[in-house]
């Protein structure tokens, strides 16, 4: 699969170079979470009750930030035409691009979440489960986002439409992810919620490449 490795390597390289936007999602995540104590108030008890929800919602929004350029940049410079003609199936291309998006956007969020948990006074038992729920849930966010990005390829200011399309689809991931970490914080068993989240993510990862590839084919016409 050298063609696949070439696409993944290129995506990571482009994201990490200047203007690639890999650090953007992480910076947005940090700032959004750090704003919450200013709005809610600095009382540790109050922050502890909103910590899980804040971190998950901020992660959703941070994921959205760089999604609109996922396919649009390639369409604008003609790369998408050549990729569509290459031996690599479009389904594989969508899966690789979504995976690269998760590696450069989702994974840094997972790594930064424990640090931000401290600033929000996240209860100690919830830490490992918050990280686990983000690690399990964020790949689904990147793959669902790839569908939205493929649908809005040809639309100017498509990022706004993309948010409207994709954010409602993020609701199930948000519910199960946040409830896993909340359950751990309240001393309940987080197992069922995280298993449901894992099932959801696996389903999304399996289906999204086909939906995204179909949307790209429509947009190439």
């Amino acid at each position: 699969m050298s063609a696949g490795a070439a696409v993944l390597g290129r995506e990571l390289r482009l994201a990490l170079r200047s203007g690639g936007g890999a650090g953007l999602g992480l910076a947005f995540f940090l700032i959004t979470v750090l704003l919450v104590p200013f709005g809610v108030g600095p009382e540790p008890e109050k922050l502890a009750t909103v910590a899980v929800g804040t971190l998950w919602i901020a992660a959703l929004l941070a994921c959205l930030l760089s999604l609109d350029r996922l396919f649009q940049a390639d369409q604008e410079d003609g790369t998408l035409d050549i990729l569509a003609l290459s031996p690599l199936p479009l389904e594989t291309l969508v899966a690789l691009k979504a995976a690269a998006h998760w590696l450069t956007t989702g994974l840094p969020l997972v790594a930064a979440a424990p640090l931000l948990g401290i600033t929000l006074n996240l209860p100690a038992p919830a830490f490992p489960w918050l990280v686990a729920s983000l690690a399990v849930g964020t790949p689904g966010l990147s793959f669902l986002g790839a569908i939205g990005a493929a649908l809005t390829i040809g639309i100017r200011r498509g990022g706004l439409l993309l948010s409207l399309l994709v954010l409602p689809l993020y609701i199930p991931s948000l519910i199960f992810g946040a409830s896993a970490a909340t359950a751990a914080a309240e001393g309940r068993d987080p197992g069922p919620a995280i298993l449901l989240l894992a099932g959801l993510t696996l389903g999304i990862v399996a289906l999204a490449p086909f939906v995204g590839a179909a949307a790209i084919r429509l947009n190439l016409r």
């Binding site: 050298s2 063609a3 490795a5 290129r10 003609g78 035409d81 003609l85 290459s86």
Partner: protein, 219 residues
């Protein structure tokens, strides 16, 4: 076997752009598409590449029908459109190395040499001039061996020396039994090029239409 197209028509946004196109390019043959702006040259190239669907007609390359075996057909052609498919953040050689790896690994050094890009191989593409970018876009043709080249205005922003290099590369491709369909306004000076002249279909179909609304008055 060559490229064989019969009765090809294509609509864009509900309006006919191409109608009744028939063409044949034998092994080692070169076809030049001529016609005024808007005649459908780029559209025809995109249809031949399989990027746009044909409304009717058949396209076969070496006997492989586009509508029956899309992958087999696609493996035999290379398309170079208006856009050069270059990532500005990557260096010239990196851009080319990606396309080579995607198509199974070709000789990057030879492709760079053929279009005089070796000296700027390490330069980021965003500081390259328009002509250098076009040469890089054309060098992509050389990293994967393909039977049919579809070129859309390949000489745009090229200087005389670069056009000569393009012609040398094209002659080599044709001499090796390859085929090329080239949309161009310039006279490339290729040996015995076949020419297909396209006229804007809107003008032709307006004369045939009797219903005033369909005659193009709404356009």
């Amino acid at each position: 076997m060559g490229l064989l197209v019969e009765g090809l028509s294509c609509n864009r946004a509900g309006r006919p752009v191409l109608e009744g196109i028939a063409l044949e390019v034998p092994d080692g043959g070169c076809l030049a598409l001529r016609g005024p702006n808007g005649a459908g040259k780029s559209t025809l190239l995109r249809v031949l590449a399989g990027l746009l669907p044909a409304a009717s007609g058949t396209i076969a390359l070496d006997g492989i029908r586009l509508d029956r075996d899309r992958d087999g057909y696609g493996e035999r052609l290379a398309y170079a459109g208006h856009l050069d498919a270059i990532k500005p953040q990557l260096a010239v050689a990196e851009n080319l190395a990606f396309w080579a790896a995607l198509h199974g690994g070709g000789d990057i050094a030879a492709a760079l040499e053929a279009f005089d890009l070796a000296a700027i191989a390490e330069r980021p593409a965003h500081v390259c001039s328009a002509g250098q970018k076009r040469r890089l876009g054309l060098a992509r043709l050389l990293v994967a061996p393909r039977r049919l080249w579809l070129l859309d205005e390949p000489t745009v922003s090229l200087d005389a020396d670069a056009v000569a290099r393009l012609l040398a590369v094209l002659r080599g491709h044709l001499a090796g039994g390859g085929m090329a369909v080239i949309a161009t306004h310039a006279d490339l000076g290729l040996p015995e090029p076949r020419v297909l002249r396209l006229a804007p279909l809107a003008a032709r179909s307006a004369a045939r239409q009797t219903e005033p609304f369909l005659a193009g008055d709404w356009a």
